[in-house]
């Protein structure tokens, strides 16, 4: 056991800068993927709720489809579609896009249920004072829905963060890929994967805490109506 830690003491100075740089890529991937998921997910949710049958059917189909396909498969499809466009950028771009459009399906469901929670009467009251549907969404529905949706959205962010690890399979330069490379260079797989795990945990845990804290505050707050 002691020996296990001695190796960290000896090797960490060599591993750390590389792993830290990889963590930067992981965060970048997470940020872009989640950004795509939020924007695209909101569009999907609005499409699903729209009175336009074709639009809402298409959105529903998309959500069902994505939920039935593993993230990795989506990632590979996007990757091989995007490779011809330029090799250097491709792994990160494909990774963000693949994770993003996949997570969008889940984010859409979070938005949809959040929006539906706001009572129809509140929306009608907004229309009755002369707000356009867009203003109603912006000033009445989203401010309240956001409070309700924040915990599940943060949980989704944690999932996306952890899912970036599969981007190593398309050679995106993130934590898992770097850990794998270093593991084979130094013949220390246990050490590097434990280190990788610790790094993911260090990023994910505070987010989970935030989500839980927020959910508790909501339970007490004035958002029950």
């Amino acid at each position: 056991m002691i020996q296990f830690f001695e190796i960290y003491v000896a090797k960490l100075p060599e591993w750390w800068p590389e792993m830290l740089a990889a963590a930067g890529s992981t965060l970048l991937l997470t940020g872009y993927a989640f950004g795509i998921a939020i924007v695209f997910g909101l569009c999907l949710a609005l499409a699903k709720l729209s009175r336009n049958r074709v639009l809402s059917r298409a959105a529903t189909l998309y959500v069902e489809l994505m939920r039935g396909i593993p993230t990795l498969v989506v990632l590979f499809i996007i990757y091989f579609a995007i490779v011809p466009l330029g090799i250097t950028l491709s792994a990160l771009v494909a990774g963000a896009l693949g994770l993003g459009i996949h997570a969008a399906a889940y984010v859409a469901e979070i938005f949809r249920s959040g929006i539906e929670t706001i009572h129809r009467g509140q929306r009608e009251a907004a229309l009755a004072v002369g707000m356009t549907p867009r203003q109603t969404l912006r000033y009445i529905v989203l401010p309240q829905a956001t409070a309700i949706m924040l915990p599940p959205l943060i949980n989704m962010l944690v999932i996306v963060l952890k899912d970036t690890s599969i981007c190593s399979l398309i050679s995106a330069p993130e934590i898992m890929l770097r850990a794998k490379d270093l593991a084979s260079t130094y013949f220390r797989p246990m050490h590097l994967y434990v280190l990788a795990g610790a790094m993911y945990f260090a990023m994910a845990w505070p987010l989970s805490l935030m989500a839980r804290g927020w959910a508790r505050r909501l339970g007490r707050g004035r958002h029950g109506a």
Binding site: G121, E124, A125, A128, V129, G130, P133, G224, A225
Partner: protein
């Protein structure tokens, strides 16, 4: 665009038949039908509300009173027939002689001239009383925020809630919430206010404070359509009582006639039922 209902505007008490452009009607409902699927809820309503006129609408549950009000501001789209606000087609436009629905945007710019009070208030719980009242003046009418908030204070004072302006709706009693909702409608400076059973969701001891506010508004000469089960109130406030049953107007006239001496059997049995319950 004419000014909003001036206090004490000359309001013809006589009830015009269906009227259009150029006369005194603020709202005209013409040949209105509304179906929900195969259910026919409104079956040919013709009604004109004169400037400053207060029309009470009474009728049994399910007779279509709420649907009628909701058609007036196009929260429900009529199946057939038309609505006019100050003689101007509402929610529709004429294109080559045909009626075409407006875009939601255009509709919003017409709807802002009609106030609506719901049975369940529907205040926005994430905003304070003051913000609930100020948001339409600011976002819909384009007032600067400061002016909108001042207007909100004025309107809250009108409903005797000046001191509650920073309270969130959940902190207010039902009667107070409904008065904030009334202030919110007043801040639109509406040409007409639609009340849909404004006191039905209230505890009996809170009904009075809301009715008092509505009476004060009535005394200012505002135009109103008021769905209510408070017969005595209707009698005191309304210029005209309209009795609706099964989606048609059965009988209408001055309160003294419709309520005291109803000429139709259906009106009589409805009223006697109501007086027994009350």
């Amino acid at each position: 665009m004419s000014a909003t209902s001036p206090p004490g505007a000359a309001a013809p008490r006589a009830t015009p038949a269906v009227s259009r452009q150029g006369d005194a009607a603020v709202v005209t409902i013409e040949d209105l039908y509304k179906n929900f699927g195969s259910l026919e809820v409104l079956k040919g309503i013709d009604l004109a509300i004169a400037w400053g006129e207060k029309v009470a609408i009474i009728g049994p549950s399910g007779s279509g009173k709420s649907t009628l009000l909701r058609c007036v501001n196009y929260l429900e789209v009529p199946t057939r027939g038309h609505i006019y606000l100050e003689g101007e087609l509402f929610g529709e436009r004429l294109v080559d002689g045909r009626h075409v629905r407006m875009s939601e945007r255009e509709l919003a710019s017409q709807r802002k001239h009609i106030g609506m009070i719901f049975q369940s208030f529907y205040l926005w719980p994430h905003l304070t009383a003051r913000e609930n009242v100020a948001i339409a003046p600011e976002k819909v009418f384009g007032l600067p925020r400061k002016a909108a908030l001042e207007l909100a204070d004025t309107m809250l004072a009108k409903v005797h809630l000046a001191e509650k302006r920073d309270a969130f709706p959940e902190r207010l009693s039902g009667g107070q919430q409904q008065r904030v909702a009334i202030a919110r409608a007043l801040a639109q400076e509406p040409k007409v206010i639609l009340f849909d059973e404004p006191t039905s969701a209230l505890d009996p001891e809170l009904v009075g404070e809301v009715l008092k506010v509505i009476e004060e508004l009535a005394a200012e000469g505002r135009s109103m359509m008021l769905v209510t089960h408070e017969i005595r109130f209707a009698q005191n406030v309304a210029d005209r009582v309209v009795f609706i049953d099964h989606g048609v107007i059965v009988e209408q006239g001055p309160p003294a006639e419709v309520i005291r001496r109803p000429s139709h059997e259906r009106t009589r049995s409805f009223l006697s039922q109501l007086l027994q319950d009350g």
